[in-house]
Symmetry: C2
Subunit: 406 residues, 2 copies
């Protein structure tokens, strides 16, 4: 029946008939782990070890014990959750948003990202997507009939956006810029001066910005984190996509949210039942507890800050590896181009270190020669460090094979 499908979907790869399944979809990762390997390819804090903050645990159990977890909340999100999110936005962005007019809760930020893009795109539209970036940024365009136009960013600029690269590619078909900020996979935070230039460009060309900030909750080294919706002229043209998955380590809860001007939000409210349905009720109450527990983010930040430093120390010492200390979140991004292609290096690590990591090429053309490692895996630092060392050992072997060691 593929002949009855539209071209946006009919040539998708990575499904059942793909030679190698996507690590994050098929059962490949599951099999790999059952055979004794480790999965450091899922952006899921402390995975696979058990861990849940007590406040979230208690609130989750309470709503089950009360017997109301069987019922719907609201497709746009329970008012109490939206109020807690409004407070969170006030704290992080310094802006006042109206919980009943500017926020919608989504079942995770993946469906939230597609939903954010959906009202604006149609066949023939073009979307400017900084590369490297989150894989869905590209594929979502295709699924919506639009074309993702890759806009390269460069390590020598610390992956900031070159507005001249946007200027080169903008045309009458351009509708939107989709951005992952902080960036996934590079962990880079776009700086205020970079965003000011971006904002000018956006306003001048009357474009929509969809800004996925799933990794915003942990930024290191005192780097300023700016939500672009707070810049002049940007509120009315920005949809901000967020999540409790990364910062709060609650991937399994599937709570994301969008915030935007109410003239945009109107349309999300009007189509929420169709596109995303309602969020899970237990997760709703768990998320309220997480947002109200002001100890979670600082505690996790301390852990993650140590992790990225240790990972950097161990991995950057390998000959042929170039990397910076992560600026944010739960990932490390390594230039391994002197050791092989992204595919060669990840295959080597799967075989020799018995660890799954991500090929940089999944994140765009600028990802060739790079790998992404979820350095926040495993609850105990010691366990994580063991794996960093196993990766480093294998990369050393590769360096020897490539005669990089001098």
């Amino acid at each position: 029946m593929k002949r009855n499908m539209n071209v946006r979907f009919s040539d998708l790869s990575g499904g059942l008939f793909a030679e190698t399944g996507k690590a994050d979809v098929g059962e490949g990762a599951d099999k790999f782990q059952k055979a004794g390997g480790d999965n450091m390819a899922w952006a899921d804090m402390f995975y696979p070890d058990p861990w849940l903050p007590e406040s979230v645990r208690d609130a989750s159990i309470a709503v089950i014990e009360e017997g109301i977890s069987s019922h719907y909340t609201l497709p746009v999100g329970l008012p109490r959750l939206r109020e807690a999110l409004a407070e969170h936005i006030r704290e992080k962005d310094g802006i006042e948003v109206d919980a009943s007019r500017n926020i919608i809760v989504t079942p995770g930020s993946d469906s939230g990202l597609l939903f954010a893009m959906m009202p604006f795109l149609e066949s023939g539209d073009q979307v400017l997507v900084p590369d490297p970036g989150y894989p869905n940024n590209y594929l979502n365009c295709k699924l919506l009939g639009a074309e993702a136009v890759h806009v390269p960013t460069y390590p020598e600029d610390n992956y900031q956006i070159r507005v001249e690269e946007l200027e080169k590619r903008v045309n009458k078909k351009t509708k939107m810029v989709v951005l992952t900020h902080p960036n996934n996979p590079t962990t880079v935070v776009y700086r205020r001066e970079n965003f000011e230039k971006l904002a000018e460009f956006m306003v001048a060309n009357d474009l929509i910005l969809v800004c996925d900030q799933a990794f915003e909750d942990h930024v290191f080294d005192g780097i300023e984190f700016v939500s672009p919706c707070t810049l002049p002229g940007m509120w009315e043209r920005t949809v901000t996509v967020c999540s409790l998955s990364k910062g709060y380590g609650l991937s399994g809860y599937r709570i994301g949210y969008l915030y935007a001007d109410d003239r945009i939000m109107d349309v999300y409210y009007g189509s929420a039942v169709n596109v995303v349905g309602a969020p899970c009720t237990i997760s709703t109450y768990g998320a309220i507890a997480a947002l109200k527990d002001k100890t979670i983010l600082p505690a996790y930040k301390e852990i993650l800050d140590r992790r990225r430093c240790i990972a950097h120390e161990i991995l950057s010492s390998v000959p042929g590896v170039r990397m910076n200390r992560s600026e944010s979140g739960i990932l490390s991004w390594l230039d391994v181009s002197r050791l092989g292609t992204a595919r060669e290096v990840t295959d080597y690590l799967a075989e020799h270190a018995k660890i799954l990591v991500n090929q940089g090429t999944a994140y765009g053309m600028q990802g060739e020669g790079h790998i992404r490692i979820v350095t926040a895996c495993f609850r105990e630092e010691e366990e994580a460090v063991k794996r960093y060392k196993r990766i480093a050992d294998s990369l050393w072997q590769l360096a020897e094979k490539k005669s990089i060691i001098t």
Copy 2:
């Protein structure tokens, strides 16, 4: 920024700026209930009373206690859940499906329904939609750029599909039929002989069937329930959309699923991360427990069977009301056309009975003069019956006003 939106979304109504919000999206229902009114417009068994089967409760708490509810399962659904669903499908449809190739779990069946339709539709396509039917059947087409072509069904046929009405409307642009079976709002079950004719029509015109079976778990009076995917020529062209929300009373868990031929499923697997993300982890384990607990469905069926009989007895006695006993599920469907328009009657009930019910017009053009009542609301039969009587009393008043009483 609405001027930057595509026409599929830019003229949506029912959002923030709508004069009256949709009962199931905005905060209208919440305010109504806080003012002492009752909401019998949400298809949520026993709403708003607390209730959860012990098996589901225990499994939900166990996964929280284990501390793994914070982690992802799989975007396509945990293998153990898909295996439990394969067993459920075997029991209900009598067919063998492969848990690893034919099933995908979705966060509820609303996003599941849109996802099911998405690969097949694009701008200019037409979809045949029996009317009355679930509102999303129509709006989803629009959101995907296609046109929903209403195909009237008639009470005098017990709302079975007239294939000649399909024949009249099919053309080169027709790609799909979208069906809610058992029907929402009418509760009618399409009979085998009706589906056999439909199947011939589908095959002859090479169309895709998306069949939403959210209400399939409770069918009364020994009426045979046939999943159309089991008919000759239909498996390869049918996507079946199901849910644990209605039959198992687990709306708040947000667990739906699609099943289809693996050549279709390949595409859902390949785009699951983009479109629906992953299902909630706690809900996943709760759903496994629900499916394995063979006492839930029979116990609920007994309750629901009594409800629809009592509701019918009370409501059909009102002069000017025409209705049949519900054939399935948790709803009752009333022809109140002699008492007023759907809007007039629901407004009257909201004001005088203090009960929210659904206007038939939400379900299509054939819904004018009708109302839908979720007769499965409230845990205690006695409480439900009180409301049926309040509705009946108000309808009597309307009948008196309209001088229908003779």
